[in-house]
Amino acid sequence: MAASAADVRSALSIPEPSSTPGPSQPKKTAAPPTRKPEGISRELYSLIGPSAPSLAAQLAKPRLKQKPNLGGGGKVKWECRAFKNPGRQDSLELKHWVKATTEPDAEYPFAKYNVQPTAYTYSQDEYTRFLEDKEWTKEETDYLFSVVRDYDARWYIVHDRYEYPGGVPRQLEDLKDRYYSVCRKLVRNRPWAGDEASKAALISSFQFDKERELTRKKYIVSLENRTPEQIAEEEALYIEIKRLEQNERRFKKERDELLRTIAGIDSGLPDVVEDEMVMNLTIDTKKKKRGSMAMDIDSPSTPAMPSSAPIPKRPQTAKNTAFDVANCIVRTEPPSTVPITKAAHQPAHLRSYKLPVPKAATSQKIGQALTELGINHTRLVMPTRQNIAHLEALLDAAAALVETKRVVDKVDYDIKLAKTRLGMREGQGAEGEAPAAPAESMEVDESNDIGEPVGEDGRAQSVVSTRSARSRKHTRRSMSISSVDTSGTAATRTKRQKRS
């Protein structure tokens, strides 16, 4: 291959006579070299030419951050508009500034944050069964719940306003502890409509450890109450202990090195942890005594441990789970307390033999309730493990319902009884008392109510039984005035409904 003159020139880096291209040379293109790619500065491009590495060409040009598009060009119009907050009970109308572009009838966006916590209430029956506490009476618990409801579970306010007449002084933690423990017990003992996980989550949200909270606060207080001298001393002590630790480490290292030089490297020297060894041994003997098969990795220092029957425990991997599902295997932890004997073995059975059965006393009513819902609790179409669990939960819920209805009947009966007794007594009392003229009764109510609510109430009641419209109004009035707690109105309402 013959080298052209241009090649020689370029090899010897002799400048080319630009004006006179040789005939053998291809004519230079008049157009400027190909446009410089983006991402390379002009100077660099002129140095390396078009043979620039392709990667560099792809690099984006260092560009400034794009300017934010503020306001979209035009000006924003704001308007002062009236709005109603659906989170409020009253129909208060306030005004606020909104963008003119927002829809005029859009819902107030912050209303959704007005979340009411679920107010837990409990019946007398539930109280006696689960909620008894020797430190608390039912009345005080009721009071606590009403205060918590009033102040929306804002605990510092609740504690500030908490004033139970004749009660022992309560700390904030006492109140919280009582409230949360009651909620926990209610959630745990009531039938739960959702799945177990959500129930557990709810219970854990009511978790409150009073001791820990008290310790925490005490600790913070003690931290806050340190004098400057104490702080300085603490710091000095801290530095001192660090220094000592360092010294010890250095000493140990030196000792090791010394011993190694004297006794040789492979002598297998014990470390300076004799006391730890002793501890390990004692733990192991304890384990052996208990006879537990807990062969853990944390006790490698006991090679003498008999490993006669290690339970082949396979880790529950996804593959194993798939295997179990395919083969219809259910693994449970073997109960270690039950002695392994032939008699204890649970024989093979049909799944449907283990259908849960309601208690004999209530089974008829439960059956009735379930039949209304179209459930036959004695037979299942598909008695699988899950469905039996579902059925069991259903039966529990039904049993609770039947029990509640029973208690309602009992309370109903008691109410009737109390009313008759009251009516009888009032019948006697009314004769002795001056007959209350209907015209003056209102005034009497107002003045006498606080001092002597019973007579008024009682009279009102007995009048009610004659079913005059006027006296009915009277009852309502006197009841609502005399009632101390907010529940009074509710109770009156039910009574009225029954009467009318």
């Binding site: 209430t121 019946s123 007398q124 029956d125 039938p191 409509a193 395919a326 083969n327 219809c328 295997i329 259910v330 693994r331 449970t332 932890e333 073995h345 649970q346 093979a348 049909l350 799944r351 449907s352 309730a369 379930l370 819902l373 179209g374 459930i375 036959n376 179409v381 598909m382 008695p383 699988t384 493990r385 469905n387 579902h390 059925l391 939960a393 259903l394 819920a397 609770a400 319902l401 509640t404 209805k405 208690v407 309602v408 309370v411 109903d412 109410i415 109390a418 009313k419 009251l422 007594r425 009392g429 019973v454 109430d457 009682g458 009641q461 529940s487 009074g488 509710a490 109770a491 009574k495």
Partner: protein, 257 residues
């Protein structure tokens, strides 16, 4: 081997089965050739695996269960000749003709490796078509109607559960994997008296058990539970109000003393 006779603790393993019967009304011609012309139906009672074999015209029976079932004894009505019928191999079923419904006593004996006792159950032989009305039909439907309605199916799903099986029995079981129930419904739903709503869905051919049925039942139970819990809330509120009322009355009583 000694290690085979060790129970595997903490394991329960089950096998889904179905038991029940299929009954077909006989035509007059068929009845005439029978030695017992008063018999109106031909029926088959069986114990089978729950999943149906593809392209088969029977309910269930995709798997051969003889790997863990040694014998199934069907005890028929005493009026049948040799009423106790033993079936020692797959398929575990008995076919007969008859005119009346009665309870069949089914006894399943397991293979020796299982070390388990036999289990028993009852099945009410079903010849006449299902109906929702609770009262028994005053008169069995006429032969023509029964013929037109097609075969009657009555099957119960169940699961045989083995606790802490012997190692060798467990090996036998796991070496015969279960055909899972189909995930989707392709054939009619087997009717069950516990779910009367399924009557319509059960018509029109040979039914098949599906995983959907389990889900559907779970939903039904959950739905009922939700309804009960709601009702419970309602009654609890009533109770609380009533208790407050009672308390008030008692206070009044105490103060008027």
């Amino acid at each position: 081997m000694a290690s085979d006779r060790v129970r595997v603790r903490g394991v329960s393993i089950y096998r889904p089965i179905i038991y029940g019967n299929t009954a077909t009304a006989l035509t007059q011609k068929e009845r005439d050739v029978l030695p017992t012309p008063d018999h109106t139906h031909r029926w088959t009672v069986a114990v089978r695996s729950a999943a149906s074999a593809p392209d088969s015209d029977q309910v269930g029976g995709a798997d051969d269960l003889s790997y863990f079932i040694k014998r199934v004894t069907f005890k028929l009505h005493d009026t049948y000749p040799n009423p106790s019928r033993n079936v020692d191999k797959h398929p575990f079923e008995v076919s007969e003709t008859g005119w009346g419904e009665f309870d069949i006593h089914i006894r399943i004996t397991f293979v020796a490796e299982s070390g388990e006792k036999a289990i028993t159950m009852y099945h009410h032989l079903k010849l006449h078509p299902w109906s929702i009305s609770l009262e028994p039909e005053p008169q069995a439907p006429s032969a023509d109607v029964a013929l037109k309605a097609g075969p009657v199916h009555s099957w119960q799903y169940d699961e045989i559960v083995f606790h802490d099986p012997y190692q060798n029995f467990l090996n036998i079981l796991t070496s015969h994997p279960v055909t899972p129930l189909p995930k989707t419904k392709k054939k009619p739903v087997p009717f069950h008296i516990a779910n009367p709503q399924s009557l319509e869905a059960s018509k029109g051919g040979v039914p098949e058990f599906t995983a959907l049925m389990e889900q559907e039942e779970a939903e039904r139970l959950e739905e009922a539970k939700r309804a009960i819990v709601k009702e419970q809330e309602h009654w609890r509120n009533i109770l609380i109000e009533k208790e407050k009322e009672l308390e008030k009355l008692q206070k009044q009583l105490a103060e008027t003393e």
